[in-house]
Symmetry: C2
Subunit: 392 residues, 2 copies
């Protein structure tokens, strides 16, 4: 591979001149420019070696996006992909590359809501966090006490967590590392959905979730079990639904949580079937924690010979594109998913750009740590979109 030195020798100039031309620092003449570019072409120079430049500059231009394993789940979920699309868009604007770091979910409930400690996960994926060539990390739905976080903190990498419980605590750092948070008003959105149902006269509903933990337990869950979920988003949504029920003075026994296992038509059909054939009074409405689940539930209800919303009202969550175009357009809680990704990326990059602009060899001449302008609001709004899956 040709290096700067080769180009310099060929052009008959110093390496610094070549570097100056290639980085367009402006400190060179037109003649020099020509000579260097010509020589670069001649020796087939492919541009500065990224590893060397990263070492010297102290910046890599790459951010790690940390996702929970299995990636399939993350990729297949329309809400997650829309989020990633937002992240990708902002990264592209800011000339930043994204490295995917997949983490196994920590086993056990969120430590702050449970007594059992989060178990250690396999070492191999954690080593990836140590060796990744990145300037910062963006965590998507990663538990706040995941052991992987310690590694990022040790490396003093700025970290931004999306949909993490950390935001609730108002903190702005993890250990010594800067920390940012972007969340969505999941609690409020869920509460609005449940209030809407109550306003329509519903008194008994079932909440459909895909899984509460890595190992799902199919069927109804008790409220303590449900609230011990490992997912912070899920927990906030459940609390929102529950709060509306409490507000209206309705008993929690009439708001059951059903674990379906997967975002999968067959699994949802089974769950709905079980629900509708169980003894005792049936729910008159379904609150699904995602649109995928809600759409599956609609299909299952129809297969069962019942009508949506006539026999059973359904409300989803996320407002994915398919929600609006479904056979029965879905009433759902809209959240600005793509924008969430953009905000997260923007907030993180604003921080890194301001604080580690570039390695400077003489003392700390870093810009004042001014509050970042145009930063994203920490909590994005949600709103209820009323369509045809709830009665008018």
């Amino acid at each position: 591979m040709a290096t700067l030195k080769d180009v310099a020798r060929t052009a008959g100039v110093s390496v610094m001149s070549v570097s100056n031309v290639l980085n367009d620092t402006g400190r060179f003449s037109a003649t020099m420019r020509e000579r260097v570019l010509q020589a670069a072409e001649e020796v087939g120079y492919a541009g500065p070696d990224p590893a060397a430049a990263s070492l010297r500059r102290g910046r890599t231009g790459t951010v790690g996006v940390v996702l929970p394993l299995p990636l399939e789940t993350a990729f297949a979920d329309p809400a997650a992909t829309a989020f990633l699309e937002g992240v990708a868009r902002e990264f592209q604007r800011r000339r930043t590359t994204m490295t995917l770091l997949a983490l196994p979910p920590a086993v056990g409930p969120l430590a702050r809501y449970a007594t059992a400690p989060v178990q250690q996960v396999a070492d191999a994926p954690l080593a990836a966090l140590e060796k990744a060539v990145i300037d910062a990390a963006l965590l998507y739905s990663v538990e706040e006490d995941h052991p992987g976080l310690d590694i990022l903190v040790k490396r003093e990498l700025p970290v931004l967590a999306v949909d993490s419980p950390g935001h609730d605590t108002g903190r702005d750092r993890f250990g010594d590392a800067w920390a940012g948070f972007v969340t969505v008003d999941d609690f409020g959105g869920a509460r609005r959905a449940a209030r809407h149902l109550i306003g329509l006269g519903h008194r008994r509903a079932a909440i459909l979730v895909d899984k509460l933990a890595v190992q799902p337990r199919l069927g109804p869950a008790t409220w303590p079990q449900a609230l011990a979920t490992t997912s912070a988003i899920l927990r906030r949504r459940l609390l929102g639904y529950r709060d509306a029920w409490a507000e209206a003075g309705l008993p929690f026994t009439d708001l059951t949580v059903i674990e379906c296992g997967r975002n999968d038509i067959a699994a949802i059909r089974t769950a709905v079937h079980t629900l509708l054939t169980a003894p005792g009074p049936h729910p008159t409405a379904l609150l699904a924690v995602s649109d995928t689940l809600a759409l599956g539930a609609c299909a299952a209800v129809r297969d069962h010979g019942l009508a949506v919303p006539g026999d059973l009202a359904v409300i989803g969550y996320d407002d994915i594109p398919a929600a609006a175009t479904a056979v029965v357009p879905l009433t759902t809680v809209h959240q600005p998913t793509v924008e969430k990704g953009e905000s997260a990326a923007r907030l993180l990059l604003d921080h890194t750009d301001h604080h580690i602009e570039h390695r400077s060899d003489h003392g700390a001449s870093t810009a004042p740590p001014a509050p970042v302008a145009g930063a994203a609001p920490p909590e994005l709004p949600t709103r209820l979109v009323i369509r045809a899956s709830t009665p008018a």
Copy 2:
């Protein structure tokens, strides 16, 4: 940030000893090990700086996965996510990280099938290819003459292309860079699907595609238009369907290609509606180039008051999980999608592991370029899975 030097000073030993312990080279005593680990803990050493290690070793442990923009498309497509899951699995086994590099699709048809040259794309995303800290690149559905490829070639990075037309030509390099290919027998799979229909007595069918080019043109396409598609996979599938028709001596006018625009229920419904209300004889079967399209088409056909397979037979492609569990389980062409990802990753990593094992300071003592054992077969098989969306 603490460096090796700090650890060495604290432990009162040389930097090399620290490096030896951390890299577990075995050339140190138990006492030394203790002292070093203790000192590392004490100064809060976060492990070797990845950029520095990459520079010195000449390897980064990261592979670039190049996907066409918009990423949303890639992430939302179940076939693509299954593929990425396979890639991720193999990478994890091999302790390799993946960097996502999104490329805008080159505008214009594949140059080898067209006279118009592939247009230049925006420069910004290409710069990412120059600056990415990677050892190799895995291209997913990237045109063989995409300008981005030149950059990888200049960097002499090993490249592996999946579902690219390159495999047809039997080449094993792009310029000076090693090149590998993994493809699936798309032609054969499509032909089997169409033959099956013909065997069932069908004589008129419509082929549903999402889009032939970046800017889709909704509605029927002529065969020359269809075959000028920018997607190599799509082209192979179209040729397979067509070949079955030709074999049976049926006219191509009875095999129409319909462009739906998106993998979207509403778009598909419109396309199916148009198809079924057009004057003249209607097709008796639908060949969809993906299961997502096929499942959407099934729903659209039912909405239209017709039955699958009674009134209209439907065959999909890919055999995504949802195909088996659909209301009418889908007849489709199965391809080993996850395995395709694993094979691609394995083939690429086998190459890089053998050929750039590590930077060696003295002369070329590299291992003989033995043919890689256990490498993936270059073309993976497909098979027709007959379920309920075609009559028995």
